[in-house]
């Protein structure tokens, strides 16, 4: 490590976040991201990493996508964040673009947050207003953000520390893929909404079983509960369709998108709200306010992102990448079948399963050493989140697989303490 980086890390610990800075050093990840472009991160000491973490899909289109940079620059000649009290050109234009591409015709209004957590809070508040109920059901090990309400829907790992966990029983958690428990939670007809990541990301992308999500939606309808789809990580063409819930034939009452919606160029998150849930917008439109929520520059970038991801070419490239990476990973899995034991996949959303409960951590470390950045699932560290970008080229994918094969081989060797099988033959 360069002296420059050592000095910088000290400053990071002193002035920014000592715990987080140190934890990464302890895990063997001394990354300080400097220059970034396409699907590459360049560490401040010059190493290049292929990014398959993409900050949960924020960088679906790659880092600093030239068209997003251009539209942001051009946008600054006319717009700034805007004044959130007034009708705004860009906010309405993006709302129309979202309504046009929404997973169902009922989703008409868009309310804005400055980030995903705020957007989730808006979604939950909207559901509570619409149903006049307080309870929210989410999935065990769910993750929807860190703001006031959002943090209560998730694992208490993030709320207890701040004495912010639910103490009055308004937030109920049920196991994923378990319809009976879900029904038990809903049948007292006191639940405002079920909030559901279409595929729970931070839990390592466990895949919904066939029929699970549509059945949850049916249960919601039966008990007059609203269905909120958190499409922050599964939306924007990662599944080969614009919204993941469309693939599972679910039309949510409220949908949240964030992260990738503005390609990492300007913070914005959006809540799509159906006519029947949007009562507060008529009753008291000033009820939720956010100076930076729906910043107009963010809207301009988000409109361009939506346009890009919906190009027909992108859809086929996503299929090519999904098939190609899968086929390569299958080969690697065959080679190290005692360690790399499964792949959860829906399009470009992948979770690589390892045979040990914390197996994804050493894999992350060895991938890092081999020039690939992928992160373990915080709430299930046996699974590595593996999220290739939407626009990766064949040679980038080939390069990625080449490095992943070596990284997994090395991680396995260290974890299992055995030489590669090929050398035993």
């Amino acid at each position: 490590m360069s002296q420059e980086k050592t000095d910088f890390l000290e400053r990071s610990k002193t002035f920014w976040n000592p715990g987080k800075t140190q934890d990464w050093q302890d895990m063997g990840i001394d990354l300080v991201i400097d220059h970034r472009e396409k699907y590459y991160l360049h560490d401040m000491d010059g190493r290049r990493l292929i990014d398959v973490h993409l900050n949960g899909g924020t960088y679906n289109l790659g880092h600093r996508h030239p068209e997003l940079v251009e539209v942001l620059k051009a946008g600054t000649s006319r717009f700034d964040m805007g004044n959130h009290h007034f009708p705004a050109l860009a906010r309405t234009a993006l709302a129309e673009a979202l309504a046009e591409s929404a997973p169902g015709p009922e989703l008409r209004y868009t309310a804005y947050g400055s980030g995903g957590g705020e957007a989730i809070d808006i979604a939950l508040k909207t559901a509570r207003h619409a149903t006049q109920r307080r309870k929210i059901v989410s999935i065990i090990k769910a993750y929807h953000g860190h703001t006031g309400l959002a943090v209560k829907t998730g694992d208490d790992r993030f709320s207890k520390l701040f004495l912010s966990e639910d103490t009055v029983g308004e937030f109920v958690q049920v196991p994923f893929n378990d319809l009976n428990t879900m029904e038990d939670a809903l049948k007292r007809r006191d639940v405002a909404a079920v909030i559901m990541e279409t595929i729970p990301a931070t839990y390592g992308f466990p895949m919904p079983e066939e029929g699970y999500l549509p059945s949850v939606k049916q249960l919601c309808e039966r008990y007059d509960t609203l269905y909120i789809a958190d499409e922050v990580q599964t939306g924007l063409m990662r599944t080969g369709e614009l919204w993941g819930c469309t693939k599972y034939k679910v039309q949510p009452d409220i949908m949240v998108t964030g992260k990738g919606i503005s390609g990492g160029m300007y913070p914005i998150a959006c809540v799509l709200i159906s006519e029947k849930c949007g009562g507060w917008l008529k009753e008291d439109g000033f009820a939720h306010m956010s100076t930076m929520g729906g910043a107009e520059l963010g809207c301009v970038v988000a409109m361009k992102t939506l346009e890009i991801v919906q190009r027909p070419e992108v859809r086929s490239v996503v299929h090519f990448i999904s098939d190609y990476i899968r086929s390569g990973l299958d080969g690697i899995m065959e080679e190290y079948s005692d360690f790399f034991i499964g792949i959860r996949q829906h399009g470009l959303i992948m979770g690589l399963e390892f045979s040990h409960e914390e197996g994804a951590k050493p894999v992350m470390k060895y991938l890092y050493e081999n020039g690939v950045w992928a992160i373990f699932s915080a709430l299930d560290p046996s699974v590595l989140q593996f999220k290739p970008g939407l626009l990766m080229t064949q040679s980038e994918c080939e390069e990625l697989l080449r490095r992943v094969q070596i990284g997994i081989e090395q991680a396995r060797e260290e974890v299992l303490g055995v030489r590669n099988r090929r050398s035993i033959h």
């Binding site: 699970y212 086929s316 490239v317 299929h319 090519f320």
Partner: protein, 525 residues
């Protein structure tokens, strides 16, 4: 109220936007080409035949569409061209295997075909469907992806045709994106495609400016120059037959083929009988005043009047105020000189044929060379003669790469009625500032990896004849877990231990403990 998509900040003309639009099309093409290269001959030819059949069956319909859209050409002739570039083209190349490896025992060399990858193909307005048929089929035969850039004047017809051909290709197994069409061709966007590192080769058929731009793009390009074919009728020729061939060829599709005869050169003793025979075939020989009128109409200070492009002889005569019989097929304009001072000696993509009488065969050849100096270098020429010496002298002196003998040049130089390779891209070679001297064929769209053994006779050559390339075909579709009907994700069965693994006897729980210990150590590091 319905939602509208509105662009508040328009960046469509920016460099970033142009590059982005080109990039995603080319990237899809590259992925398609990667998959396509995994296809064997049988799988490839299934696609080629499906596309050729569809092209063939739409030949007439598309000919009509193009004539309506561009306003020029002859439907029945375009239909012929469209058919010619469908099934017969495929049959011509059917036996030429450009997919499998070839073993050259005697040279101890094995050759593996390596497709170019992504072809960017410019389509002219004059022969749009036939050219796009031709280029698409060549691309498919060689397992390349192709992006078609239609001429704006024939855009709609081209886009419709490419869509139908693409459907045929995909439904017979071609990878998505193997054929694409540029729906909004503009010069800056085309330049973006041409200069992109994701384009492997440009096939430029069209105006000189485009062809030069292709060569300046920094990418490999096969561009061909314009034609201006001299046709020499010497004293030994069968005059009646020559006249018949010339008029038929010159009037074919109203002379929009670059292989069409442009300047008729003959000798004093042939002059009168040839004029008579030309008239018999439906040619109208203009008088001096009419020649002036046609010259002024066809050539403006800035060049050829595109209004006249592909119009029929009667239409042009009317525009020039000349009364001609209704059945007139071509207009013949006698001229007294060839060279810079005579615009009528240049390429005329309409049924107007200049007519020059030389004093001697030597002068006729000199004048033929002069026509190609003006324009059309490296392209085509014709001779009507029974004298092989004359044919040889003519052919070896005119600066072009194909000389058609006693046949129509339109159809002969492009391989319709000669044994030249059937082609809608006629290489104009070094004379015509092109990288290609022959008629474009599929062989120009691949290179070969050569496996070479030591030539010393004592070194044995490998047994390759029993082998073939590992061509695995399309990739299996990846799963969409949880979506009914999606392929299932595989999961390694962790209860069975692998035979080659050295810790077979350790039970699973113990293994877990071991791993946990190891892992702790790893994570402590």
């Amino acid at each position: 109220m319905e939602p509208q998509i509105r662009t508040l900040v328009d960046i469509s003309e920016s460099q970033a936007s142009l590059s982005g639009r080109a990039d995603i099309v080319l990237e899809r093409a590259r992925w398609a080409s990667y998959i396509f290269q995994r296809f064997d001959k049988k799988r490839t030819m299934k696609i080629v035949d499906a596309v050729a059949n569809v092209a063939h069956s739409h030949a007439g319909e598309w000919a009509e569409q193009v004539v309506v859209e561009t306003g020029f050409g002859v439907v029945s002739h375009k239909k012929l061209k469209n058919e010619f570039t469908a099934k017969p083209l495929v049959d011509y190349y059917r036996e030429q295997d450009l997919v499998s490896m070839r073993v050259k025992e005697e040279k101890k060399i094995v050759e593996i075909p390596r497709p170019a990858g992504v072809i960017f193909a410019l389509i002219p307005s004059t022969n749009p469907i036939s050219t796009l048929n031709f280029k698409i089929i060549l691309a498919l035969i060689t397992r390349n992806s192709i992006v078609i850039s239609p001429h704006p004047a024939a855009k709609k017809s081209c886009i419709d045709a490419v869509r139908i051909l693409t459907e045929a290709a995909i439904s017979s197994g071609a990878p998505e994106g193997a054929i694409q069409v540029l729906e909004t061709p503009s010069i800056p966007l085309i330049e973006e495609f041409m200069s992109s590192p994701k384009t492997n080769v440009i096939l430029a058929t069209g105006g000189t400016a485009m062809v030069r731009a292709a060569y300046s793009s920094s990418n490999p390009a096969i561009g061909v120059g314009p034609g201006n074919a001299p046709v020499f009728v010497d004293s030994s020729a069968d005059i009646a037959l020559a006249a018949n061939q010339i008029v038929t060829s010159k009037s074919f599709d109203n002379s929009v083929l670059c292989t069409s005869e442009s300047n008729l050169i003959t000798l004093t003793d042939v002059d009168k009988p040839l004029r008579k025979s030309l008239k018999n075939e439906g040619a109208y020989i203009c008088n001096n005043n009419e020649v002036v009128q046609i010259r002024n109409y066809l050539f403006h200070p800035n060049g050829f009047n595109v209004e006249a492009l592909g119009r029929d002889a009667v239409w042009i005569a009317r525009e020039c105020g000349i009364r001609v019989p209704k059945k007139t097929r071509i207009l013949v304009t006698p001229i007294n000189s060839i060279g810079i001072e005579e615009p009528l000696a240049r390429e005329k993509l309409c049924p107007v044929l200049s007519f020059y009488v030389a004093n001697s065969p030597k002068q006729a050849i000199a004048q033929s060379r002069a026509t190609l100096r003006a324009t059309g270098a490296g392209h085509s020429a014709v001779i009507h003669s029974q004298n092989e010496r004359m044919i040889l002298d003519f052919a070896s002196r005119v600066e072009c790469y194909r000389v058609v003998v006693n046949a129509s040049c339109s159809l002969g130089a492009s391989g319709f009625n000669t044994n030249l390779a059937p082609s809608f891209t006629i290489g104009t070679g070094f004379y015509g500032r092109s990288s290609l001297g022959e008629n474009l064929g599929p062989q120009h769209l691949i290179h070969w990896t050569q496996i070479a053994y030591n030539s010393d006779p004592s070194v044995a050559f490998g047994k390759f004849n029993e082998l073939s390339l590992s061509l695995d075909g399309p990739l299996p579709r990846s799963p969409s877990d949880g979506v009914p009907g999606s392929p299932k994700s595989r999961r390694v069965d962790t209860t069975s231990t692998s035979t080659s693994f050295s810790i077979d006897n350790v039970n699973r729980e113990e293994l877990r403990k071991l791993i946990a210990e190891e892992l702790k150590n790893v994570l402590k590091k």
